[in-house]
C-alpha cells in the first residue's frame, strides 16, 4: 500500500499483537518492552518522521525482480540451516542444559535480586547492555548530526501569543493532560526502580518518560516545550547517562578487577551487585529518555521551521 500513514497504524497494531503473544508465552519483561517501545514510541517517532518526508511513497519505476530472487534464495538457505537446530523450547537443547539452569540456580545467591531477567541483563551480561546503550546514544548523535538546526530563540511575547491561540483548540485535552503527565512521570520512576522485583528496568522507564514529554510537546506547542526542556541540557544529560555506565566499569578496573565486575564497588559482594545494578539501570534510563526526546525535538522542530519559512 502506498499510504504511509496506514502503514504506520498497521505496524502499531502489529507491535501490539506481538506484545500479546509475549504475554501468552509468559514472558513479562519482553512484553513490557515490546508494548512500550514497539507499539508506543516507534509509532510516534515514525509519525513525526513522515511529517518531514511526505505522506505517500514515490511510484516505483522498475519491478525489483532481482532483489526478490536474492531474498528468496537467502531466506531458504537460512531456513535450511536452522533445520538442524533443536525444536523451539525442547528440553534437550544446549541452552537449557548448561547456561539457563546455572543462571536460574545461582542468580539469587550471587546477585540477590528476585527478577532473573534484570540480573542476567545487568550483571551476567552487563557488557552487552553497555553496547546497547552506546548504540542508542550513537543513534541520537546521528540524528543531531543530520538534522540539527540552529535557530534564534523566540521572544517570550511571541511564545505567549502562540500559546493563547492554541488554547481553545486543545482546551479539554490540556486540562486532562495536566493531570495525567505528573502521574506518567511518576510511573516511569516506579518502573525504573522496581525493575529488580517486577518487570521493568531502564529501557522501559526511559521510553515512558519520553512519551510523557512528547505528549506535553504535542499539546502545548514546540516553543513552550523548548522552554521547559533546554536543548543543550538534554544533550548533556544523554552523555551523562553513558558516562555513568562507563564509570561503573572503569571504577572496577581501577580496583584491579575485571571491567564491570560489581564486587569491586563494596566490601560485601551482594551489596556491590545491588549498587552496580542500580547505577547502570539509572544510566540506561537517563540515556534512553534523553535520546528519544532529542530525536523527537529534532524531527518536530524541523517541520516547524519549514512552516515558519513559508509563512
Amino acid at each position: 500500500m502506498k499510504d504511509l500513514f496506514a502503514v504506520i497504524m498497521l505496524s502499531g497494531i502489529y507491535g501490539l499483537l506481538s506484545a500479546s503473544f509475549f504475554v501468552a508465552m509468559d514472558a513479562v519483561d519482553v512484553a513490557f518492552t515490546e508494548a512500550s517501545v514497539g507499539a508506543g514510541i516507534s509509532t510516534l517517532l515514525m509519525l513525526v518522521a513522515i511529517t518531514i518526508t511526505g505522506r505517500s511513497e514515490h511510484p516505483v519505476r522498475h519491478k525489483p525482480v532481482l532483489a526478490l530472487v536474492v531474498v528468496i534464495v537467502t531466506g531458504s538457505l537460512l531456513i535450511y540451516g536452522t533445520l538442524d537446530m533443536p525444536y523451539f523450547g525442547s528440553a534437550t537443547a544446549p541452552v537449557h542444559q548448561h547456561v539457563a539452569p546455572q543462571y536460574i540456580n545461582d542468580s539469587m545467591q550471587q546477585v540477590g535480586v528476585p527478577n532473573i531477567v534484570t540480573s542476567v541483563l545487568a550483571s551476567y551480561r552487563g557488557f552487552d547492555t553497555f553496547g546497547e546503550v552506546v548504540v542508542i546514544f550513537t543513534a541520537g548523535m546521528g540524528v543531531l548530526a543530520l538534522l540539527s538546526v540552529v535557530r534564534r530563540p523566540k521572544g517570550i511575547a511571541e511564545i505567549d501569543s502562540l500559546n493563547k491561540s492554541m488554547h481553545e483548540e486543545y482546551l479539554v485535552l490540556r486540562i486532562v493532560a495536566k493531570m495525567l503527565i505528573p502521574f506518567i512521570l511518576l510511573f516511569a520512576l516506579y518502573v525504573q526502580f522496581h525493575g529488580d522485583f517486577g518487570p521493568g528496568g531502564g529501557f522501559q522507564a526511559g521510553v515512558i518518560f519520553a512519551a510523557a514529554i512528547i505528549l506535553y510537546t504535542m499539546l502545548f506547542g514546540m516553543s513552550t516545550a523548548r522552554r521547559v526542556i533546554n536543548q543543550s541540557l538534554i544533550q548533556l544529560v544523554a552523555a551523562i547517562g553513558v558516562l555513568v555506565y562507563g564509570s561503573v566499569g572503569v571504577v572496577a578496573l581501577l580496583e584491579d578487577k575485571n571491567f564491570l565486575d560489581y564486587s569491586a564497588l563494596s566490601t560485601d559482594p551482594i551489596a556491590g551487585q545491588h549498587l552496580g545494578i542500580l547505577l547502570i539501570e539509572l544510566g540506561v534510563g537517563i540515556t534512553v529518555a534523553s535520546v528519544m526526546i532529542i530525536i523527537f525535538f529534532n524531527f518536530a522542530g524541523r517541520e516547524n521551521s519549514e512552516e515558519n519559512k513559508e509563512s
Partner: protein, 113 residues
C-alpha cells in the same frame, strides 16, 4: 462469604463482557462515524469498569486491588477524553454526520394531501 464474592465477581464479568460484545456489534453495524463513536466510547468505558470491578472482587489482595483501581481511574479519565478528541478533530475537518433529512421530507410530502 467466599462464594458470595465469587458470584458477584462472575456477575460483574458477565455484564462487562455483554457490554463489550454489544459495543463490538455496534461498531460494525451502525451507519455513520458519529453513531459508531457512541457505540465504541460509551461501551468501552463502562465495560472496562465492570470487568475491572469483577477482577477486584476475584482476589482481594492489597497491591493487586490498588493497581486495578489505578487502571480504572486512568481509563475513566482517558477514554472519554480520547472520544472527545476524535469527535472534535472530525468536526474540525468537516466530516458531516448522516442526517435523515431526505426521508423525513418525503414523509411530510406524502402525508399532506
Amino acid at each position: 462469604m467466599g462464594s458470595l464474592m465469587d458470584i458477584s465477581s462472575a456477575v460483574f464479568l458477565l455484564i462487562g463482557s455483554f457490554l463489550c460484545v454489544s459495543g463490538g456489534v455496534g461498531i460494525l453495524r451502525f451507519p455513520d462515524f458519529y453513531t459508531r463513536m457512541h457505540a465504541a466510547g460509551v461501551t468501552d468505558t463502562l465495560a472496562t469498569a465492570m470487568i475491572l470491578i469483577g477482577l477486584m472482587l476475584q482476589n482481594p489482595d492489597g497491591l493487586v486491588v490498588l493497581k486495578l483501581i489505578i487502571i480504572l481511574l486512568m481509563t475513566l479519565f482517558i477514554s472519554p477524553t480520547a472520544s472527545h478528541a476524535l469527535a472534535s478533530a472530525a468536526v474540525h475537518n468537516d466530516l458531516k454526520p448522516v442526517l435523515d433529512n431526505k426521508e423525513s421530507n418525503e414523509k411530510v410530502k406524502t402525508s399532506n394531501p
